[in-house]
Symmetry: C2
Subunit: 233 residues, 2 copies
DNA sequence: AATGTTTTTATGTATGCACATATAAACCTG
DNA sequence: CAGGTTTATATGTGCATACATAAAAACATT
């Protein structure tokens, strides 16, 4: 039946994936246990384990102790987007990157911002607005609130030539966070900065980052019309 | 120094992550090799390997044979979006799901569609347009082209009560594909179907799926205004 | 100094074994 | 038969060992 012999976990993975795709093993169906597969493939159980674990992480399989392994009823529910630093994103496409600070103020953020960052309403924060350009065309508009209680050093930074994005990467503690994607209509000033018409549909990325309990920064990137985020499935 | 002793790979991972976050190991810096860490943590090298490999997959570390392991200079934030079947997405939020077919025709798709699907321009395909509703409010508009040469069975399906989305999951071969996210302004008919104003910014998800060389289906989901896709970072 | 060759080394992975753990299924027990 | 307890089992993980492999570093050669 299986002459080729599967010596490494990747070839096992390929074979299992082939069986799933061709429906030798149907959606929702159980597949043989690791020990049996190891015998069939002529390799160690740990090799099969590696292959199946990897497929489970990718969403092709559902695994539970004792219950066994089954083909996911609903395949690939996972799209992994890599959110790069905008400068890299642009440079990788062979375009010239440039940066332009639009505003820098110390002020009290709107209520929804301070609430999202879980800070008292009257807290003064640093607000930075800047434009990222690709080949001198507006690419993305960054609007950011920085919590000076967490990153006091930011107060001394002009962010004139270096984006807050990159400065924070280097100086703020690494942290977890949330990210949200949505679509919004361009407001008057946004339209002007991004050189598009008012009301144009813009792709928006909102990021909120935390250092343990304290919110570090809240940022919104508005991308110029037509922007796409793509990924292999 | 390290009394706790790290016995399992998750605790090793936690400790390494802690050192990255607190900048004991700075962005871009090399970290000790697996063997040394194994000694320090009092565990086997394979355990350290498991932890570091996992962190590398998550984007925190860059690893290269012989060169060693370094902290990612720029942690590529990998946002893993789970693209669920829309019905599940709605039901999970405790809302009532309903489905409404808007159109079903056999016709020749626009040139950009047949081109993207790599099919001859004159190929007749099945076009389905349908509305997904949450608590009877428009939630998403699905517009889909189905390649009947790959899934001939679709021709006999009315898609009156069962969405093409779910039918294809059950009947089309599993496959790879691409997914793209963008923002578009609502057109006249789209606005009417989604009960929003014309020109409103809509979140768009375009998916193109393949079975080896043949394109199975191309679909665009337009979500009602305000829709967000969120994920932990 | 430019080029090609060898060595060294850190990660990558396969294996056999042991034990941990979740949990489905079988077995009570009232 | 409902409810609780035990058992069996598939996955999950750790470890020691061995070897594979990529690529940096050292070395040799022209």
């Amino acid at each position: 039946m299986n002459s080729p012999a599967f010596r490494d976990w990747q070839s096992v993975q390929d074979e299992v994936l082939r069986r799933i795709r061709t429906r030798v093993w149907e959606p929702g169906a159980m597949i043989p246990n690791e020990a049996d597969l190891a015998v069939e493939f002529g390799c160690a159980r740990s090799t099969v384990n590696r292959a199946l674990r990897s497929l489970a992480e990718a969403g092709w399989l559902d695994r539970r102790r004792k219950a066994g392994t089954r083909v996911a009823a609903q395949p690939i529910a996972k799209a992994t987007l890599s959110i790069a630093v905008i400068r890299h994103e642009i440079e990788e496409r062979g375009q010239k990157y440039s940066y332009q600070r639009v505003a820098r103020t110390l002020s009290v953020p709107p209520l929804d911002v301070s609430a999202a960052m879980r800070m008292p309403a009257e807290t003064v924060m640093l607000y930075i607005r800047a434009l990222h350009l690709a080949d001198d065309m507006p690419y993305a508009l960054e609007s950011r609130w920085i919590n000076l209680q967490v990153v006091p050093g930011a107060q001394d930074e002009p962010f004139q030539n270096l984006s807050a994005n990159e400065w924070l990467l280097r100086h703020a503690p690494y942290s977890d966070g949330e990210i949200a994607f949505s679509a919004v209509n361009a407001g008057e000033d946004e339209a002007e900065l991004l050189a598009c018409s008012e009301g144009a549909a813009l792709f928006a990325v909102d990021r909120l980052t935390w250092d343990s309990d304290a919110s570090v920064t809240k940022v919104r990137f508005l991308f110029a019309p037509g922007h796409q985020m793509r990924t292999k499935l």
